[in-house]
């Protein structure tokens, strides 16, 4: 691993876009400094065109503080926005945040509707489906490599199609709409990366357009499901009642977008960066290939290591105290999950990639609290199946160059990761 110089506190600015495209070693060196020297470091907010700039935010980097904030949702609320640093206009906030940017009691009521579709036992039935998807993706990747010079893109050929097909199957999205779903969910979680949103000036417009396209798909499917209910999540969304009320059209559309976006972006980035981590740690890769029994802990370590969602925001509903420090009502906190996941107070040798790490109480799916990832079981299942399928079907997979990193503070993601299948001549 390359040596990383220790950054000084004064030089750190988490609101700078370039920081988020830097290699993880550099970012973790910064988080190590923050965690040690300034665990509630304060930063000015990045400027988003056409959105008023807010008062700034505290970067929470210690595991214990992330946990303390997450498990007190009445003091640290999500309703004023959990997925953006700036307070977005309320309709935009609800539309793009859905459940994530909602507080109880409404959050709890709506969450229970979909929780039914994500229980371990329901997902158990999906295993065969996930396995079939992964096998097919592996076979296609080999064909792609064989048709060319052996090279593939880990993101486009392996990491993206598995969660895309699984979540679209669960939601009953027709084949012909799936390319659009992938493209638009990538825009929504681009964080304004210049490659994905060409002109930062029109970042908000780009998000709106992506949301509109997905909402249009939802409206079409909703009409179809009302007429012909199917055994899918979309039908559950359009037909369920909460306290005798149907969800509003807007709630359904935003939930639909959340499931598609969250179901795609997170798992894709865990898989692609898991492949990268394994290529950087060949002894671990070989150990897992030889021992399928390692899968349970290996999946957790990949989620800890990659922490695909970098942060969620909470806002103090009153004057609060954390680790002996006082913060006024309205203070914003970004919970940096990837930083908490490298906290030496909880993880021995935290910068070591150890597929047998156990226990591994990472907060890659969020910390304790009502917003704990709804799709955690699904993601675990997909990651486990994907990597076992790669070990069996793509033992000759070799990463050939550095990844193109997404320049987003919110999603720790890869746009591309060049690789080749060495058995292809």
């Amino acid at each position: 691993m390359t040596a990383v110089s220790t950054p000084t506190l004064d030089a750190i600015d988490l609101s700078e876009r370039a920081f988020w495209g830097a290699p993880p070693e550099q970012r973790h060196a910064v988080f190590d400094v923050l965690r040690r020297e300034s665990p509630f470091a304060f930063f000015a907010e990045p400027v988003v065109p056409y959105i008023p700039v807010g008062p700034g935010y505290h970067a929470v980097t210690r595991y214990a503080d992330v946990e303390a904030i997450s498990c007190q949702p009445a003091l640290f609320a999500s309703g004023s926005g959990a997925v953006s640093i700036a307070d977005m206009p309320p309709d935009l906030n609800e539309f793009y945040g859905s459940l994530i940017s909602m507080d109880d009691p409404r959050h709890g009521k709506i969450r229970r509707i979909v929780a039914k579709a994500f229980t371990p036992r329901v997902l158990e039935k999906l295993v065969g489906n996930v396995q079939a998807v992964a096998d097919d993706v592996v076979a296609r990747a080999r064909r792609t490599a064989a048709d060319g010079d052996g090279s593939i893109d880990v993101v486009a050929d392996l990491a993206a199609p598995i969660p895309l097909r699984v979540i679209c199957d669960m939601m009953g999205i027709p084949e012909s709409d799936r390319a659009m779903v992938l493209q638009q969910s990538t825009v929504i979680l681009s964080g304004g990366d210049p490659e994905l949103v060409e002109d930062e000036e029109f970042m908000v417009t780009a998000f709106l357009k992506a949301g509109e396209l997905l909402a249009g798909l939802m409206a079409r499917l909703a009409a179809e499901r009302h007429a012909h209910p199917a055994d899918d999540l979309t039908t559950a969304l359009v037909t369920t009642e909460v306290d005798g009320e149907r969800l509003t059209h807007q709630e359904i559309a935003s939930f639909f977008i959340l499931l598609l976006v969250a179901g795609n972006e997170t798992t894709r980035n865990a898989i692609s960066q898991g492949v990268l981590a394994l290529s950087e740690h060949p002894a671990e890769r070989d150990r897992w290939a030889a021992d399928p029994g390692l899968t349970r802990t290996a999946v957790e370590e990949i989620v800890r290591w990659t922490s695909p969602i970098t942060w969620m925001r909470r806002t103090a509903t009153q004057d609060v105290e954390l680790s002996g420090q006082h913060f006024p009502a309205g203070s914003k906190f970004l919970l940096f999950y990837g930083a908490a996941n490298r906290d030496p107070a909880v993880f021995a040798d935290p910068h070591r990639f150890d597929l047998s790490r156990d226990p591994n109480p990472h907060v890659g799916f969020g910390s304790r609290g009502p917003h704990f990832c709804l799709g955690a079981h699904l993601a675990r299942r997909e990651i486990g199946v994907a990597f076992r399928s790669f070990a069996v079907g793509l033992p000759d997979l070799e990463v050939t160059g550095p990844p193109a990193r997404l320049q987003s503070s919110f999603v720790n993601g890869l746009k591309r990761l060049p690789a080749r299948l060495t058995a292809v001549r």
């Binding site: 709890g108 969450r111 371990p120 969020g366 304790r368 009502p370 704990f372 955690a376």
Partner: protein, 60 residues
Amino acid sequence: MTRVVVDREVCMGAGVCEMEAPEVFELDADGVLQVRELVDLPAVETAVRACPTGALQLID
């Protein structure tokens, strides 16, 4: 006798308990948590601790 109490207002159906102790906990088709005989107490203790919403309590 040791038993588990579920706070129904707080349970979000995350299913973490079921992952930890599948013989004891099961979210049924309506997403309601069912608790069976506590056959594997260490796993149950882990499940209670791991519940993301703190909905489970172990009572002696």
